[in-house]
Symmetry: C2
């Protein structure tokens, strides 16, 4: 397949992973800036112009190469911030001390998304190094807040909208179907996060003195959360499924498991149907030792996933109304919507999609699967809305990469193929001749 | 009423409270021993013999004065260990730096139970100092594990059963009805603690990828906990109320609030009826920042209170059976019973009760109310069972003392009356003449 990886590319990934650019932890704010600076410098070294765009949060790295007048302009998106590593003891090697074991490089962010960002940069570097020029005009937009919901991105897109007039957007932050099967993601669920607090007595009460005569907020929280689903796993919130596409059948996946919307596959349930997940519960005392307390309040963090055709804010409002409606007079429930991100559905037949499919087929020998993802990348809907272009989501992560988990790693052979695929994509996009249809690409 | 408090008694309480004898925290193990040693020395100073009895946990202080042959022997019970102070910021003055404000001495353990223990010791000291002898034989048993359920006490009672042959047991670890109204507690609820863990997927899952197709253990835990009560607050566990006395009506209390066994007062619900309280919930992520996780497991700490006529182990088994029975096939529930303590009901007409009532009337000018408590003191059932004597529970705590909470304090005028009452009690118990009935005491 002709995909090779230089020692330099591996050393580069190690250097990038070594910077603990954890966007959610204020203690790492300086590291995030360091990572941004490192990445801008890397773009310059490849031959692009690159600057840091300041935001109220972490900076955006904006690179550009505009030496192909008359050719399309493509925006390459990725992020240089990473998830918190979690407990260091859960890692086989320290999260920010990159280590190669087998054909993988281990470290937080190796796959999500530093390795994938470097696939883009290395492809540009290779094209510029070998041909002296790129086949298209390129803008690289690498943000440092993807893992915290891209709060600063909309303002950056708005402020720079003239220089961000592009013909195509390529996002590398998703997974392949398998190590030998690339995937183009054409749909993402949206999301909303709710913080639900049930309060009762003005202070913690002793369960000996009061147990049996006071509606315990922790008990009430359980009762309120339990009202969200029926025994099958169908959400009972009125209007929760409104806007779900009809028939909302999507190809792929096997027989459904025994929980969720009946008669649907797991793939359908997780990509084409909205869902409610309890992300966290906290009440009273659960540490060492006993404490016989009726807690004054109880907390649930609840995450919603919505699908194209639904507005996460509207659905969150319906869930909040339901929670208020089922709250008995003995306690009070407050609901705060802490975030909302739109779902995405992109056309599967544009020239950029076809070019990506062509490039995958060239490098992997098989066309990519076209899939919907159950996850949410807030930046994608922001890019789609602000730039008026359907992003192409072509990622090089693998399930085995353990993104967001301990022992995250990036698969080095896939790193090599990712670089080759992106180079092929840019070449294809810059070619004068008509791009083949996806069906043609599949036959190819 | 003749109750006075010397400066020495206040200084003594301050010195005792200053020792952070937190039995549940291993870091304070040495402090617990220090408190035991301090208390034994105090007993010796009053004129008793005193030793520390070693246990696998914290020591028991055993004091004795046996100079009244032919007279009854009374065991005085209390505990010198204290609850953890909780967050220091919640305290107006540091929990282990005793401070007098108004007519109260503030500090962790001031009321529960160091102040009440010192009521006993000071009464003995006063009787020995003024009369050179005690009217009865006395054994002081002060343990250092009351706040953790008295795990070592049964073995100590068994090992020392010959020297612990007593005619009466007086426990000072309860509350008065009000500052001018003493209370004799004749019933305690028993308790059991359950740790409930619901598990689902082998590891945490991403709610984007899996939300809607996996029965979330946190959701399932809520559903399982919600099954414990109906909408009125009646427990739905089969057999939960079996053994509750018929009619289980007890005097006292006002109109019942709107949650609990219907048609009962709050006092009845919390003293004569069993109850289930959720003491704690924990699942997933509830700290700063967002985490879109379907947690692999979810935890509930559940406390049961049972009433005389019920066995806490049997009731805990029924609750565990219910939890297993309502668990759907999509998740697994494990239940561990982590503690169990028996309920207590004592005769209200014995000579020791009458002597206590007489003493209260002498010092407070009114007879004590006879009440049941919803709380649990495991040691009381242990003393009752091992010594074959119905303990008399005559405590000098007040609701305003904020036992177990920040800003715990002991009311100094009540400290004085507690000493006087206990001295009167011991004198009365040692008198030759017939003890009056409670009705007589009330008229007196």
């Amino acid at each position: 397949m002709g995909a090779h990886l230089t020692a330099g590319a591996i050393a580069e990934l190690a250097a990038f992973v070594r910077i603990p650019s954890v966007s959610s932890q204020p203690a790492h704010a300086a590291d995030v800036v360091t990572a941004a600076g490192w990445l801008a410098e890397r773009l310059r070294r490849a031959g692009l112009e690159a600057d840091l765009i300041r935001t109220p949060g972490h900076p955006v790295v904006l690179g550009s190469w505009r030496g192909a007048p008359g050719r399309p302009t493509v925006l390459l998106y990725g992020h240089y911030d990473v998830q918190p590593p979690g407990p260091a003891t859960a890692w086989q090697s320290p999260p920010f001390v990159p280590q190669i074991r087998g054909n993988r490089l281990y470290g937080r962010g190796a796959s999500d998304d530093k390795g994938q960002v470097l696939c883009q940069v290395a492809a540009l570097d290779r094209l510029l190094r070998t041909g002296g020029r790129l086949p298209v005009n390129v803008i690289c937009l690498y943000e440092g807040e993807e893992e915290i919901g891209s709060p600063s991105l909309p303002a950056v897109l708005d402020r720079h909208r003239e220089e961000l007039a592009v013909d195509a957007v390529l996002v590398c932050d998703t997974r392949m179907r398998a190590v030998d099967r690339p995937a183009l993601v054409y749909g993402l669920r949206g999301a909303a996060a709710l913080e639900v607090v049930v309060t009762g007595p003005p202070r913690d009460l002793h369960s000996g003195e009061h147990g049996g005569a006071v509606h315990n907020p922790a008990t009430a929280l359980c009762e309120i959360v339990a009202s969200l689903h029926d025994a099958d796993g169908v959400v009972r919130v009125p209007g929760f499924y409104a806007g779900v596409g009809n028939p909302a059948r999507v190809a792929g996946g096997g027989a459904g498991p025994d929980w969720g919307v009946p008669g649907r596959t797991a793939y359908e349930r997780t990509t084409a149907w909205p869902a409610i997940s309890v992300h966290g519960l906290a009440a009273g005392h659960t540490g060492p030792g006993a404490s016989s307390v009726i807690p004054a309040s109880a907390l649930a963090r609840i995450g919603l996933r919505v699908v194209p055709g639904q507005d996460p804010r509207v659905v969150a409002g319906r869930v909040a109304d339901h929670l208020a409606g089922v709250t008995p007079a003995t306690v009070r429930t407050s609901v705060r919507v802490t975030s909302a991100a739109d779902p995405v559905l992109v056309r599967r037949d544009g020239p950029a999609v076809r070019a990506a499919a062509y490039a995958c087929t060239e490098v992997f020998g098989v066309p990519p699967v076209l899939v919907r993802s159950g996850g949410t990348i807030p930046a994608v809907a922001m890019l789609q809305g602000a730039l008026g272009v359907d992003p192409v989501l072509l990622g090089f992560g693998l399930t085995a990469d353990r993104m967001h988990a301990p022992d995250e790693s990036f698969h080095l052979p896939t790193y090599a193929r990712g670089i080759a695929t992106l180079a092929a994509y840019l070449r294809r996009l810059g070619a004068r001749r008509r791009l083949p249809s996806l069906a043609e690409a599949r036959r190819g």
